[in-house]
């Protein structure tokens, strides 16, 4: 072949055909919604979050996902599903497959603390089927109990010094009436209310105030199984500790950024994460109130709404874990107690 022609072929191949081929390969193989694969790009929420952030599938349809991050490490999980969370690394593609068997609106979200607005990084998967109402549409307990999540709820009593202990309470040998030991009672009453009720019991007349608090701890322990505490601890560590702090004192690594958040200033709210070691606030709160705050989120603060993500059992496990910050880590009953 003529050298000049060879040169032209070479330049055409390297400078035009090669890149064009790359793009064509991409175009030919690009997964689109409704096709075989759906590619989801993750960016920090201030830069756009997930793209796409809305996906629609039919119930039972196998969803093939190609997940990639355009900036930092993210995680991908689908709330209220058995999909196991995966890491989404910058510039790498993680493939995942999921089948959603129940119709409804599922929320997918980031599981890695990628920034102060990490919790805003969410998207939805609409699963079309015969039923359009997802499980989360059920009325939460705080609403049926008429609890105002915004109302102050300070306890008018508090333990004198040491945290109440269910072990000490059990060793007192004082029988606790069965009505205190039901899940319904536990969820609807605060430790402070329970202390007053137990204090009024004839069997507790001889007890000191501190010993009555130990009975309260015993009541709470009867509603906290080790497996629930373990699950709650896992959820707390991955979803809550960054703001509320590892020890629950409201001093997580993101707390300062939240305090400076524009959203909080706009709403004229205290954006500081709740301090679970604050006895006055915690002992005046009912488990239903805590669950309500978890489900609904803190309006105008950085507290996300976990209702569309966590299952009912997960929210109660998380609530059970939160009481550790008042009653100590060993405050559990047997796994069969509930």
């Amino acid at each position: 072949m003529n050298p000049e022609r060879t040169a032209r072929v070479l330049v055409f191949a390297l400078a035009l055909a090669l890149p064009l081929g790359v793009l064509l390969t991409r175009w030919a193989g690009i997964p689109r919604q409704g096709g075989e694969w759906i590619e989801i790009h993750g960016r920090m929420s201030d830069d756009g979050g997930w793209t796409p952030d809305e996906i629609t599938v039919d119930v039972g349809e196998v969803l093939h996902l190609r997940l990639t991050s355009d900036d930092v490490v993210h995680g991908f999980a689908i709330g209220q599903s058995n999909f196991e969370a995966v890491d989404v690394m910058p510039g790498e593609v993680t493939q995942a497959t999921v089948t959603l068997e129940q119709p409804g609106r599922y929320v997918f979200y980031c599981t890695r603390w990628c920034g102060v607005n990490h919790w805003r990084m969410r998207g939805t998967i609409d699963v079309r089927g015969e039923t359009s109402e997802p499980d989360t549409a059920m009325s939460p307990l705080y609403q049926s109990l008429g609890i105002d999540l915004e109302a102050p709820h300070p306890a008018d009593v508090a333990p004198p010094d040491d945290p109440p202990s269910s072990h000490r309470g059990a060793n007192l040998g004082v029988p606790i009436p069965d009505r205190f030991l039901t899940a319904a009672y536990y969820r609807a009453h605060s430790p402070g209310e329970t202390w007053h009720s137990l204090r009024a019991e004839a069997a507790a007349h001889q007890l000191t105030d501190e010993e009555v608090w130990d009975l309260v701890a015993l009541v709470w322990a009867s509603n906290a199984t080790p497996s629930a505490i373990e699950e709650g601890g896992r959820l707390y560590a991955s979803n809550c500790a960054a703001c509320h702090g590892e020890r629950g004192a409201g001093d997580g690594v993101m707390a300062r950024a939240l305090a400076n958040g524009a959203a909080a200033r706009l709403e004229d709210r205290d954006p500081s994460p709740a301090n679970f070691t604050d006895a006055v606030q915690m002992l005046g709160a009912t488990p239903a109130l805590l669950q309500g705050k978890i489900i609904r989120g803190g309006m105008g603060t950085g507290m996300p709404n976990w209702g569309p993500i966590l299952t009912d059992a997960e929210t109660w496990a998380l609530v059970a874990y939160l009481w550790r910050f008042q009653f100590g880590p060993a405050n559990t009953g047997p796994d069969t107690a509930r």
Partner: protein
């Protein structure tokens, strides 16, 4: 060391004479260049997984600063893909030395036949460098802009005007090519003087006239010779040599020293200091300012950068030169002394850039393997290395290498200062004349050691 003509080796001469090998390398580089643009525009925006960023700012930069420039001077320019399309359009051919091409063939404006535009172009790119180096799309836009600029220059002006007067990389490559142990020169100037055709400059059937607008017969420095080897092909007397020579031989050539080149030496040295401070220093505020382009802090950074490389550092150097003249009671005009002594900063400047390059190249070289397998970050695994994790290389050795390079650069600059002072058999005492300049080099070296090695 005497010069040794490498064209005496038959194999080397054959390879250099033929256009094929050079063209093949250029075409290959062009393929990589276009792929870098495509990956920047369509690939992942994650720099460490994008071919454009990794190939250009890690692989290419490492080859350029650690191998090509120190050993071959403008060797890269001889296969650079940026001017190639414009060059081919201008010549109307890719391989053959054809003469019917496109272009107006105008002469470059006389007022800018110097390095000032290259100085400005480099400074402008440097202002945006933190973003250019990390964001693939910005890299792609810059590469495209350079390509269009090069093609446009080729269609309007004669020969390789872009390379000679505009290319921001070509400016410093030319400056540092004076240190390289390779040069292209004529074997016998008398042969050139006797030749009336001057085919090396005007071109003939065997090749083009010098694309770099250089007459090889008068060539005394590497600065503006692009090693395109056209003169090797066109010379009817086989009078062109590609010599292996002493390193830095051009620095001892007093003729042709110019203010624009002197400033280039200072700008490059100042830029290396700023880059080291921004990218490797402990000042997060400075890093943020350099990154947040368009913000008020970036504006302050930009003004500070320009002031440092164009005013503060040259001003400090001018002061040291002035102090040396005073100490030595020298009658050499200040401007002349400033220009001549600035050439002594060239070894230190190259050492600074080599040391700076060492600081990140080996740490980031392992990004090359995943990108080879998945150049676009689309989840491909072409050669099975897409999953290779980041592994810094030679972490224990790099600080020692950097120290050695910087101290070597200081020593080389010190020796060059003294030799420049001795030029022309001046009567003024050398030691007081050179002392402030050597102190200047020492301070710069210590500063760079602090920033790069810690």
């Amino acid at each position: 060391m005497t010069r040794r003509d490498l064209t005496h080796f038959r194999l080397i001469k054959t390879v250099l004479h033929r256009r094929g090998p050079q063209f093949a390398l250029t075409a290959l580089a062009l393929g990589g260049f276009v792929l870098a643009i495509v990956s920047g525009l369509a690939g992942t925006p994650v720099g460490s997984r994008n071919f454009g960023i990794v190939a250009v700012w890690i692989a290419w930069w490492a080859v350029l600063m650690l191998v090509a420039v120190p050993l071959f001077g403008r060797g890269w320019c001889s296969i650079c893909p940026i001017p190639a399309p414009g060059d081919w359009l201008q010549r109307g051919a890719l391989l053959q030395p054809a003469t019917r091409g496109l272009g107006l063939g105008r002469r470059w404006p006389r007022a800018t036949r110097n390095m000032w535009l290259q100085n400005a172009a480099f400074a402008v790119l440097a202002l945006f460098s933190v973003v250019i180096l990390t964001q693939p799309i910005v890299t792609a836009v810059v590469l495209l802009a350079l390509l269009f600029l090069a093609v446009g220059a080729s269609l309007i002006f004669e020969r390789r005007a872009f390379c000679r007067y505009l290319c921001p990389v070509g400016g410093f490559v030319g400056l540092y090519s004076q240190l390289a142990p390779v040069e292209l020169r004529v074997k016998d100037r008398a042969v050139c003087a006797a030749d009336r055709q001057k085919s090396c400059y005007t071109g003939n059937a065997a090749g083009c006239g010098c694309p770099w607008l250089v007459y090889p017969g008068a060539l005394e420095k590497n600065t503006y010779c692009g090693l395109c080897l056209e003169c090797l092909r066109t010379c009817p007397h086989d009078n062109i040599a590609v010599n292996w020579r002493s390193v830095g031989a051009d620095l001892l050539q007093p003729r042709g020293r110019r203010l624009d080149e002197a400033f280039k030496a200072l700008i490059m040295l100042g830029s290396a200091i700023v880059y080291a401070a921004v990218m490797l220093g402990p000042w997060g505020t400075l890093k943020s300012a350099a990154y947040n382009i368009g913000s008020g802090t970036w504006l302050i950074y930009a003004l500070g950068f320009l002031a440092f490389v164009f005013v503060v550092l040259p001003g400090a150097f001018l002061f040291t030169v002035h102090a040396g003249r005073k100490l030595a009671r020298s009658a050499v005009p200040l401007r002349r002394a400033f220009v001549h002594f600035a050439y002594a900063l060239i070894p230190l400047g190259l050492a600074a850039w080599v040391a700076f390059t060492l600081s990140f190249v080996f740490a980031n070289l392992s990004y090359v393997w995943p990108v080879l397998s998945d150049p676009m970050g689309w989840g491909w695994d072409l050669v099975g290395t897409a999953g290779d994790s980041w592994t810094p290389y030679l972490t224990q050795v790099v600080p020692a290498l950097q120290t050695g390079v910087l101290l070597g650069g200081l020593l080389w600059s010190g020796v060059t200062v003294r030799r420049i002072a001795l030029e022309g058999r001046s009567q003024h005492p050398v030691f007081p004349l050179t002392l402030p300049v050597m102190a200047f080099c020492l301070v710069i070296t210590l500063g760079l050691l602090g920033l790069l090695v810690g």
